[in-house]
């Protein structure tokens, strides 16, 4: 067998595997759309569940998930970005920073149900926030913190040092350099981290199980101390523990479809943002 043929075969194997992955992805998507699109209508999106969750809509769960996305980002983003700035721009590469990095990575590997337990113990009970948007947001925020830190660190490290030295050589302080040169350049990639975190947060069930999610709560929240329904948990509930599982099945697929679409919209929104800012701070 010639070298050339060998290379060709390898190429085709890689290509085939790539296509299989894409195929599986499209299959899942198609499956959900096929089964879920039937129940989606205006009523489904804007009304509360009825008939022991075999009828009506999922509006409260949509609102709840949006609240949790927003809340957890407000928690995780400032903390994550600031600690990434600290570790990459200020702390050098000493023991402390390496320790922080290892701990951050470990934090990212902890199963999400553990975060749920921790959140219940600290936010719900000890701090007395009860089952609430606040407790859920903090729990989800902690969960994605490692992701935010990591992606922000990568974004900052991708900025060549020549821009930093250029700024410092003009008499700018380190903080000014970070604020005026480094962060604007890193922003598009930091936003990518935000996208990933939102995807993660909106799909998690375990962390909200004991901290915020309501089984059935048609009333919309009025404050951060209210409980809410949430899409992934709602999906879990109607798929496993309703009064009439069979007739709730289409609603389950509909819910899954909405969840996917929300994540998709977030991604598109973020990539538009990213492109917009990417143009503004264009690097060569």
């Amino acid at each position: 067998m010639s070298k050339h043929t060998g290379q060709n075969i390898a190429f085709w194997i890689f290509r085939l595997l790539g296509l299989i992955v894409v195929g599986i992805l499209l299959w899942i998507l198609g499956f959900i759309i096929w089964n879920g699109i039937g129940v989606i209508d205006w009523e489904f999106l804007t009304e509360a569940p009825t008939d022991g969750m075999t009828g009506g809509g999922i509006f409260p769960a949509i609102v709840g998930t949006c609240c949790l996305i927003l809340g957890s980002m407000i928690v995780a983003f400032p903390i994550g970005v600031m600690s990434a700035i600290y570790t990459t721009e200020y702390a050098g590469n000493g023991r402390v920073v390496r320790f922080i990095r290892i701990m951050t990575d470990n934090l990212g590997g902890i199963p999400s149900i553990i975060f749920g337990l921790f959140g219940m113990s600290l936010f719900v009970n000890t701090l007395g926030w009860g089952d609430s948007i606040l407790a859920g947001s903090f729990t989800l925020g902690l969960l994605v913190l490692p992701l935010v830190i990591r992606t922000t660190e990568e974004a900052l490290k991708a900025i060549p040092d020549s821009f930093r030295t250029g700024s410092l050589a003009l008499g700018a302080t380190k903080l000014q350099t970070i604020r005026r040169v480094v962060l604007p350049m890193a922003f598009p990639n930091i936003v990518t981290g935000l996208i990933l975190s939102i995807g993660r947060v909106s799909g998690e069930t375990a962390p909200i199980l004991f901290t915020v999610a309501a089984y059935f709560l048609p009333k919309l929240p009025t404050g951060i101390f209210d409980q809410v329904m949430a899409l992934p948990y709602h999906l879990y509930v109607i798929a496993t523990s309703g009064t009439d599982l069979e007739s709730a099945r289409p609603i389950a697929y509909g819910t899954a479809l909405v969840l996917i679409v929300i994540v998709l919209i977030m991604n598109i929104l973020a990539s538009i943002l990213r492109r917009y800012f990417g143009k503004k701070v264009k690097t060569n």
């Binding site: 050098g92 020549s162 008499g171």
Partner: protein
């Protein structure tokens, strides 16, 4: 005037500069030449304390800029870097507009007056012989300029904060011959108002632009004298060999 007295400099254990003393007068151009790795850039970076950014470095001796030891206690490094500007080997404009690049040094120093900034930006671009080429596209990204224009933009950016000293580390090594000669002409012009120190690997360039030349080797300052003398009739054989290209 800038001056170094008995400078020894270490990167951790590595002795990069060995007992260097020299004096550079105001409104002159001093060139540093020498084989790669001999410490030219390291020595240059002492004068705006850019070496401070490298962990594990150590310095003994005195560095004096305009009568003041810049490594003394209580020296404000940010202020020093306004006074001692630097131009790097590779043009490194910020991903901002041409105007904002030049205005940057003013903005970080708290200047907010728009009229003043506009005036200083124009002055600086003119000073860097770039104004005529960019005056109609100040709002455009700096990356739309050619390499040579970008380097002159970086010079303008340094001039905008009114330094007294300009350090240039191989400012033309990434440029084509025409851009290079533009930068050289510019150095001639700038000499009237600034004290200039330039590192170069190009002997002709050193001979063309500088008044004095220092020849470095392995962390030693082998010879330091008038450029004319250095290139016609150097004292040391090592210098002669390097200049005539017999090694290095």
């Amino acid at each position: 005037m800038i001056q170094s007295k008995n400078i020894d400099f270490y990167y951790s254990d590595f002795h990069a500069l060995k007992g260097i003393s020299m004096e550079m007068e105001a409104h002159t151009v001093t060139a540093f030449i020498g084989p790669s790795g001999c410490g030219k850039s390291t020595f240059l970076r002492l004068f705006n304390r850019m070496n401070d950014l490298i962990p594990g470095t150590r310095l003994t001796g005195e560095c004096i800029v305009d009568g003041r030891d810049i490594y003394a206690r209580g020296v404000n490094v940010d202020e020093l870097r306004k006074q001692v500007g630097m131009v790097f080997q590779k043009p490194n404009p910020f991903p901002k507009s041409i105007f904002e690049n030049v205005a940057y040094g003013l903005r970080v120093n708290g200047v907010g007056d728009r009229k003043f900034i506009e005036q200083r930006v124009e002055e600086s671009l003119a000073g860097a012989a770039l104004w005529n080429e960019v005056k109609d596209k100040l709002k455009k990204s700096a990356f739309e300029l050619s390499g040579g224009q970008q380097q002159r933009l970086c010079i303008a950016r340094a001039l905008a904060v009114k330094p007294s000293v300009l350090l240039m580390d191989e400012p033309a090594s990434a440029l084509d011959p025409i851009s290079t000669s533009k930068i050289e002409e510019l150095i001639h012009e700038l000499k009237k108002d600034y004290t200039i120190v330039i590192v170069t690997h190009n002997m002709q360039q050193a001979a063309r632009v500088s008044d004095k030349t220092g020849f470095f080797m392995l962390g030693d300052l082998v010879e330091f004298s008038d450029t004319k003398k250095m290139f016609l009739n150097p004292d040391k054989e090592q210098t002669q060999n390097y200049i005539t290209g017999r090694f290095g």
